[in-house]
């Protein structure tokens, strides 16, 4: 006698269908759940972080295994915020168990006179951007018909901060604006190609990260001048290739109005209420029907602090808050799921969407 035991309820839609519907404000079977499990996936198969972030085969295998384990509804190819920087010349440090970071004891741009050292690079022939392109390709080949893969491009001002140093760049914005702008334009040109290469590799959408479109860092007009008006061309190129543009920004007080005006994404992934919104309820009332929300779980709390009951309750509250979005909501962590966080909590987030997010 054969006994079949069903260990989970079959869902009505694939992750791809679910996310596509949510991005169009059409209610799918349930709220999609996509905690941004990126680097954390290396632990599923036991790889070190440095190998995961430099070997596309390892990254693909790890992300696939993580998706199988957690059941999240989308891949994001956010490897780290230094990917582009290395290809523009910045020396990096690759810790065995943490995110790669620039060696700011040896910045590529040591003085403001060095901005002219920034030269265009071909992402397809680079080391790290090409790695991400291959990760996209591997994920799409393996799961492209079922689970969306979202490519990732860090904004040109962010990339520049990774090769000059954050504080020095911010001071140069005031002291040497023309030099900064010239470098931002140069980097941006390569980012257009980087986005297109990820699309050629099969990405279903591209996530742009204009991290400094945030009141916790820059004045709105400063961000518009030094990034938005330039980065817009990357967004336009993505749309021109027939692929949707999403934005991620985990900074505090994101300028939603300026981001929508210049980048015009169909969804924004974020960790805090928009600039001008005092809390999530106010944010949802102001923005949830204007742009699809991806978020908004506090990654540190979900990954490190909460027990599973607290994760469930936190997610339930978010789903409740964003009911006003009428389907335009994807439950996620507001920033990358902590690479050293509790993976069970990512799985619990998906469980919360199944429990509380039925439409």
């Amino acid at each position: 006698m054969t006994i079949t035991i069903r260990t989970e309820t079959r869902e009505e839609l694939t992750s791809l269908e679910r996310v596509v519907l949510a991005l169009q404000y059409k209610k799918p079977d349930r709220v999609p759940a996509a905690p941004l499990v990126c680097g954390a996936s290396c632990r599923v198969l036991g790889y070190s972080y440095d190998r995961w972030s430099q070997d596309p085969k390892i990254a693909v295998a790890s992300l696939l295994a993580a998706q199988e384990l957690i059941g999240f509804d989308g891949f994001l190819t956010l490897v780290d915020l230094s990917v582009e920087a290395e290809d523009f010349g910045q020396e990096l440090i690759f810790p065995e168990r943490s995110t790669a970071l620039p060696n700011f004891d040896n910045p590529f741009l040591k003085t403001a006179d060095d901005y002219s050292k920034v030269k265009a690079v071909d992402p397809r022939k680079s080391r790290r951007m090409a790695t991400v392109i291959e990760i996209v390709r591997g994920l799409v080949e393996a799961k492209g018909k079922e689970v969306p893969t979202m490519g990732f491009v860090y904004g040109p001002l962010g990339v520049l901060s990774q090769i000059r140093g954050h504080a020095e760049l911010f001071k140069d914005i005031i002291r040497h604006p023309d030099r900064v702008l010239e470098a931002v334009y140069t980097i941006n040109g390569s980012l257009v190609e980087y986005a297109l290469a990820q699309i050629e590799a099969g990405a279903h959408a591209i996530v742009l990260d204009p991290l400094y479109s945030s009141a916790s860092i820059l004045k709105k007009s400063t961000w518009v001048k030094f990034e938005a008006e330039i980065f817009k061309s990357v967004a336009d190129a993505i749309r021109g290739a027939g692929v949707p543009v999403l934005v991620h920004n985990c900074g505090g007080g994101v300028y939603f109005d300026a981001v929508l005006e210049h980048i015009n994404p169909i969804a924004i992934s974020h960790a805090y209420p928009a600039h001008g919104s005092a809390n999530w309820e106010e944010h949802a009332a102001n923005w949830a029907k204007k742009v699809v929300t991806i978020g908004v779980a506090d990654p540190a709390k979900v990954g490190h602090e909460f027990n599973q009951a607290q994760v469930l309750e936190d997610c339930r509250q978010q789903i409740e808050t964003f009911k006003v979005a009428e389907g335009g909501f994807i439950l996620s962590s507001g920033c990358e799921f902590p690479p050293n966080g509790n993976l069970l909590s990512a799985r619990t987030m998906v469980q919360a969407a199944k429990l509380y997010g039925r439409y």
Partner: protein, 220 residues
């Protein structure tokens, strides 16, 4: 204080507040040339100027770039005036060892806290970024610090803060120092879990926290 002194200190404050580093240096030298008190120039000129910049930062008139340049102007003036300040006038002699924990290079938040602590009168020993846990402990012991202030922006490096506390306990020196933590991914819950003495969500609150922990709630 004479009207002339007040006028010069006010110009010094304006130079800092309006981000003019060269003018801050020139006016600081003028303070010395006229024989005015260097500490008064720091307090009523440089610190007053950076305090005004800080207020505008809180009101979202100034942002990180403006605050960093105001701080540069303050430090430029301070480099000229500091050798002429009588030690007993500089504040309440409390020391803070501060740094970004190992694995993280995001130091703007830490720098803002450092500036505000210095403005508040603390003697700050800045270990920079990517600082190993043991180095915090060794330095705090060496300088006889009152407070160890730990910063990080990344979830991957949060646990390094707990390692600092663990080393302090292992070396039987935990009760010599107050440990405070700050940075975007942190919370009071995290601070409690690792056994820190306090958490500050904003730079200005870190100063209030440090003052409270060292018993200087009402200090200037």
């Amino acid at each position: 204080m004479s009207a002339e002194q007040q006028e010069l200190f006010e110009r010094l404050a304006i130079a800092v507040f309006e981000l003019d580093e060269e003018l801050a240096k020139k006016l600081s030298q003028e303070v010395l040339d006229r024989g005015y008190d260097a500490w008064n120039a720091v307090e009523f000129g440089l610190l007053a100027g950076v305090n005004r910049a800080g207020k505008l930062f809180d009101e979202e008139e100034y942002f990180v770039p403006e605050l960093l340049i105001a701080a540069d102007a303050m430090y430029a003036g301070l480099a000229i005036l500091r050798p002429h300040i009588k030690a007993h006038l500089t504040g309440f002699n409390r020391k803070v060892v501060i740094g970004v924990v190992q694995g993280d290079t995001h130091d703007i938040g830490k720098n803002l806290v450092r500036i505000m602590l210095e403005v508040a009168g603390f003697e700050v020993h800045d270990l920079g970024r990517d600082v190993p846990p043991q180095k915090f402990v060794d330095h705090a012991i060496a300088v006889k610090a009152d407070v160890i202030a730990l910063s990080t922006l990344m979830t991957t490096t949060m646990e390094r803060m707990g390692e600092v506390v663990a080393i302090l306990k292992a070396q039987n020196v935990r009760n010599r120092f107050k440990v405070i933590v700050g940075g975007s991914p942190l919370s009071q819950q995290f601070s409690d879990r690792i056994g820190a003495d306090g958490y500050a969500p904003k730079a200005a609150q870190a100063v209030d926290l440090a003052k409270r922990l060292v018993g200087l709630v009402n200090a200037a």
